[in-house]
């Protein structure tokens, strides 16, 4: 997709998102969905950059999200660090963990990367519940229940006042989206596409596969951790339930709907999936059952996600916009 079209699609999407509180500001149910869409859209975009553009089979995206959330929660609860700083520190910590995981694993062949990152995910549960986690303040299997809300210039951003929190998240989302778009389209982006195409070819151009993969891994981990932290201060409590396969699958559905490497398809995927997941919430344990079935069916029948058909539908409209400029 061309840069112009990508930015236009994103602009259109975020403009619509930005004015949503004007209509639904009073309805907490819908505001909650909107905030979750913003958060998940960024997390899923990061995953798309990792999988679709850098060609890394990482299955650790939810793990990084949870690491960010827990890091910020622990810092602000146990060490009394103001959330504004703890969120940024959580991002840095997650980025470092990303480097730590990436160092041994990005040199490996594709499936091994998937396996190691997924093993990191699976190990987080016993880690956070066990004595090691309790020692650093994870709260064991109970989790952390009293995470302070974000305070900025004397304003409290919490789940009591959804509209201000929405705009805080919106602001961060726009910044991170810009970073991701730059990453995809800049020299890095070209390098990644070359890497995905053929590592030997890229290597001959002097592009070190490992270095760039590590860079993208660190940066996306940072952003993911940042949004995990944001989420922690939004909901005010955390538990290892966030690591259940249920959450992982929701993120995966966003990718399947959006199409891997079809950015900003995942953003559309996030809108559909978050809404669907909220609507299915009353079904209890049938929700993951249905989610699992949706993945199977979508992977089988949706080749490139739904963004391509949508763009084909919208292309006359977009052409009008482009021509008017």
């Amino acid at each position: 997709m061309s840069l112009k079209r990508m930015i236009l699609t994103l602009c259109g999407f975020y403009c619509v998102m930005g004015i949503m509180p004007l209509f639904f500001g009073g309805t907490d149910y819908i505001m909650n969905i909107l905030i979750m869409i913003l958060i998940w859209a960024v997390v899923a975009s990061c995953w798309d950059v990792i999988m679709g553009f850098a060609g890394i089979f990482s299955f650790g995206q939810v793990a990084f999200y949870v690491i960010g959330a827990y890091a910020s929660a622990i810092l602000s609860v146990s060490m009394d660090i103001p959330p504004v700083f703890s969120i940024i520190m959580a991002g840095v910590i997650t980025g470092l963990v990303g480097v730590l995981v990436g160092l041994p694993c990005l040199r490996l062949a594709g499936p091994y990367v998937a396996l190691v990152t997924f093993a990191v995910h699976m190990t987080l549960v016993p880690f956070l519940r066990g004595p090691l986690g309790r020692a650093i303040g994870s709260g064991g299997s109970q989790g952390i229940l009293t995470i302070p809300p974000i305070k900025l210039f004397g304003l409290a951003f919490s789940s009591d006042q959804l509209v201000p929190f929405f705009y805080l998240t919106f602001f961060l989302t726009i910044i991170c989206t810009l970073v991701l778009v730059l990453m995809i389209k800049s020299y890095w982006g070209t390098a990644f596409l070359a890497l995905k195409d053929s590592e030997n070819f890229a290597a001959s151009l002097g592009i070190s596969a490992f270095k760039y993969k590590l860079m993208v891994f660190a940066l996306t981990s940072f952003i993911t951790g940042l949004f995990g932290a944001l989420y922690a201060h939004y909901v005010g409590m955390l538990s290892t339930k966030m690591l259940s396969m249920d959450v992982f699958t929701i993120l995966m559905i966003m990718m399947v709907i959006g199409g891997i490497g079809k950015y900003p398809g995942v953003v559309v995927g996030a809108v559909i999936t978050v809404t669907l997941s909220q609507l299915l919430a009353p079904l209890g344990m049938y929700r993951p059952l249905i989610m699992g079935a949706i993945v199977v069916v979508l992977v089988l029948f949706l080749r490139d996600g739904i963004i391509s058909p949508i763009i084909r539908l919208l292309s006359p409209l977009q052409r009008v916009v482009v021509e008017e400029e």
């Binding site: 190691v116 049938y286 992977v299």
Partner: protein, 290 residues
């Protein structure tokens, strides 16, 4: 102290033998079809529920003998259909490896919660294959453990024999070693892919029956098993049957001793550490080939 170590050792050996049975099936699938089956653990649970349904509500005649007898064709057909219906249509895509991972992950979620919906969220226990103990010197062994060990070992020997002495077994190895060469000599790749899935599903189902009757059937236990099987496979070298055999026993022992000395909660962390260190030194596992 010494007696305790012997006990821990035997439990490591027994778990190792069942893990070997399951990991060998998984590594075979990867080696031959290059597909990454993330639903493997859910088929382990299918083994447990299969035995439970036959033994408890249906009260089938012949007990475990009939269970094993019926499990073989059942899991063969399930595995065959899995490949034909869900995996092989994905092969036409460029990024089919990623799609297979996603599909099987979704399938595993579907199956796990399907078990909960059908059988309820609580764990189920199976009657033991055999009760009683054997005393060797001062060491007391459960007859059940001995039966598990013998059955999983004979399952593996059976598998080894099929792989090396039948035409289809040789064809399976041929596809793993050189898919293009296999096509040239006229081996029908599609059939071999499906047959490999069928064999591996048979092995994990068999392992599921063996371990579930020792422990219990836990609808949420599948991810744990899946990760174990995958770690063993990666640790041993993906696609290397001998490697995963060694890795299974090493991991069984590690698990038994770490669990005994430090507590079960540390087992997964120890396992991951071992995997990361191994892959840092040998990026293709213990016995992986270039």
């Amino acid at each position: 102290m010494f007696l305790e170590i012997i006990e821990v050792f035997t439990s490591g050996l027994i778990n190792g033998s069942v893990y070997a049975l399951m990991a060998v099936g998984l590594t075979l699938v990867y080696g031959v079809t290059k597909a990454f089956n993330f639903a493997y653990g859910s088929f382990y649970n299918l083994g447990g529920y299969f035995a439970w349904v036959l033994l408890i509500p249906l009260g089938v005649i012949g007990g475990y003998f009939s269970v094993f007898f019926m499990a073989i064709p059942f899991f063969f057909i399930v595995g065959y259909l899995l490949e034909k219906v869900l995996i092989s249509p994905l092969r036409k895509y460029d990024d089919w490896e990623m799609k297979v991972m996603m599909l099987t992950l979704g399938l595993s979620l579907f199956m796990d919660f399907g078990y909960q919906a059908i059988f309820g969220p609580r764990i189920k226990s199976l009657p033991g294959i055999i009760e009683g103990t054997v005393q060797v010197g001062e060491v007391v062994l459960f007859q059940q453990d001995i039966v598990i060990f013998i059955l999983s070992l004979s399952g593996m020997l059976c598998f080894w024999w099929i792989l090396n002495n039948t035409r289809t077994g040789m064809a399976v190895q041929a596809v793993a070693q050189n898919p293009a060469g296999a096509q040239i000599v006229g081996i029908p790749k599609d059939f071999i892919f499906a047959a490999t899935f069928a064999i591996s599903t048979m092995m994990v189902g068999f392992g599921g029956i063996l371990l579930c009757q020792k422990n219990f059937v836990d609808p949420m236990g599948s991810t744990d098993i899946m990760i174990k099987a995958w770690v063993i496979t990666a640790f041993g070298g993906m696609g290397s049957i001998r490697g995963s055999l060694y890795a299974a026993f090493i991991l069984g022992m590690l698990e038994a001793f770490v669990g005994w000395y430090f507590g079960m909660i540390h087992v997964q962390i120890a396992t991951l550490t071992l995997l990361l260190v191994t892959l840092a030194i040998r990026p293709r596992g213990l016995m992986g080939r270039e």
